[in-house]
Amino acid sequence: MRSRSFVWNYHVMLLPGILLLIAFSVIPMFGIAIAFQDFQPTLGIFHSEWVGWDNFSYMFSLPDSKLIFVNTLTIALMKIAAGLIVPFVFALLLHEVYHVKFKRTIQTIVYLPHFMSWVILSGVLVNLLSLDGLINQMIKWFGGDPIMFLQSNSWFRAIIVSSDVWKEFGFSTIIYIAALTSINTNLYEAAAIDGATRFQRLRHITVPSLMTTIILLATLALGNVLNAGFEQILNLYNPIVYQTGDIIDTYVYRAGLLEIQYGLATAVGLLKSLVSFLLITISYVLAARFANYRIF
């Protein structure tokens, strides 16, 4: 009897959260209808004209569509690769440090950018990369010509990827460090007694023990192949670099909220949501099957 009243209380506890999710996640899902309408805000979703797949065929006819898709995919894949490798190497190096205080200081410093917003970091980057900024001062000092980094299509993607690494690499090492601390130290001692060099210990003990983690992270990253980093790019791009830097999310924002093409923007957004949802689901299923990873 008591457990039944418990269960009733559990439902009550969940109620506020569920209602909020319905209001701000489920109701917007019905707004997907806009993708199939010639949506007019004054008429609303119930009175706007239905146009079937028109918004989608218009989307595929736009030359920009291919561009934003390629940009999104390229930037996202570069970020995923860099975001897996850099923290991995950094964690390996950090693992070789025995001086606890030194190790902690380094960690404290490199975690910090993760907690700064892209607005702040972009402010800092714009400063750094401006014509009179620190980087160009150094280029001039070495005798080179100053470069307008944020106005250059040959530099823009590199800047996006490297600044993303700057913000996240420290924080991403946490998961590797957690895996490294669970290595049984007896392994190292046994290897040392058997005469293994430092590099051999790294290669045969440390690296293999991180393999599960890196494979798991790579699998989960699959869900991000269409996320090139909206907030970052919105703060750093400009019309000159649309050619290499305009991504699906920034396009949806401009087309929808600035140019008021609601139907088109919703259609593009919907396509992205669907593909992302599919990819994330696949990645979770793979992670659960092969790494026995379940977060919920």
Partner: protein, 293 residues
């Protein structure tokens, strides 16, 4: 732990790590130095990591900038209100979800619903239209209610709750404590590290977000600080659709590099203040919250 067998390799690793740590702070240090420098020195790019012509003029102008403080106030309000809502919702959802489906039939349905809401969204335009229809534009509610359920934090705390020994709850139940009492008097007090982690995440999230403020707040006085800074500094960069160096120079002077550097620095202060607490908890909190079922 076995000591490394070569001092030289150790030395190289230490120097390299110190260099990387310096590099990751260098851009911020450069901006900090500029914010304390003289106008001419800052504009001609003479400032590296130490102020040239040290003065506080930029900070004096920030203090006299009313818009900056109005936005600072909006951000504080948003963090307090939004953080409190996140805190309550996270605890209330994590507790029932940490029960197994056997004790709480329906638990799995809720879980799938929540995960579905996290993974699939209607996209930007329908989301905006919903908030517009609710009549929330230009109110603080637009900034705190759509983000009221931090699904990731709920999952993190739920996994932490799962790790609390069952005996503790059984003992409380035998003593006559119902679910509410058990949650508030037993679960919440023993979960300090996990609660600190999720609270700090939600505070940082609220403090850092600018995009919702940018599209949902039409009046300047409702902008949170990050939106205010975004509008003043960053948008100048995006309207630079010219490659003429003189024009770019003119535009960037207009945006007053010096003043912006000072504003960027001031807006970092709250994060820097809570960072020591963040540091202390988040590593253990994340690792504990990620335990497998």
């Amino acid at each position: 732990m076995v000591k490394g067998n070569s001092r030289a390799v150790d030395m190289m690793i230490y120097v390299f790590l110190a260099f990387i740590a310096f590099l990751s702070m260098a851009p911020v240090l450069n901006t900090l130095a500029i914010s304390f420098s003289g106008k001419i020195a800052a504009m001609s790019g003479e400032v590296y990591f130490w102020p040239v012509d040290f003065n506080l003029n930029a900070y004096k102008s920030v203090i006299s900038d009313r818009g900056f403080f109005v936005s600072f106030g909006v951000s504080i309000k948003r963090v307090l209100l939004g953080g409190a809502i996140n805190f309550v919702i996270t605890i209330l959802m994590a507790y029932p979800l940490s029960k197994s489906g056997k004790f709480f039939p329906g638990r799995n349905i809720y879980m799938w619903f929540i995960v579905f809401c996290m993974l699939f969204s209607g996209g930007l335009i329908p989301w905006y239209m919903t908030i517009y229809t609710f009549g929330m534009l230009d109110t603080i509610w637009a900034l705190v209610l759509p983000t009221a359920v931090p699904v990731f934090n709920v999952i993190l705390l739920m996994n932490f709750f799962k790790g609390i020994p069952k005996e503790l709850e059984d003992a409380a139940n035998i003593d006559g404590a119902g679910p509410w009492k058990t949650l508030i008097l037993i679960f919440v007090p023993v979960s300090t590290p996990a609660l600190a982690t999720v609270t700090l995440f939600s505070i940082v999230g609220h403090w850092n977000s600018f995009f919702d403020g940018m599209i949902l707040m039409q009046h300047k006085e409702n902008w949170p600080l990050q939106t205010y800074i975004q509008q003043l500094i960053i948008s100048v960069n995006s309207i630079m659709n010219t490659t003429d160096p003189e024009e770019i120079k003119r535009l960037s002077n207009m945006s007053s590099q010096l003043l912006n550097a000072a504003k960027v620095m001031v807006s970092m202060v709250p994060i820097m203040l809570i960072y020591p607490f963040l540091q202390k908890y988040f590593v253990s909190g994340i690792v504990l919250g990620a335990v497998k079922e």
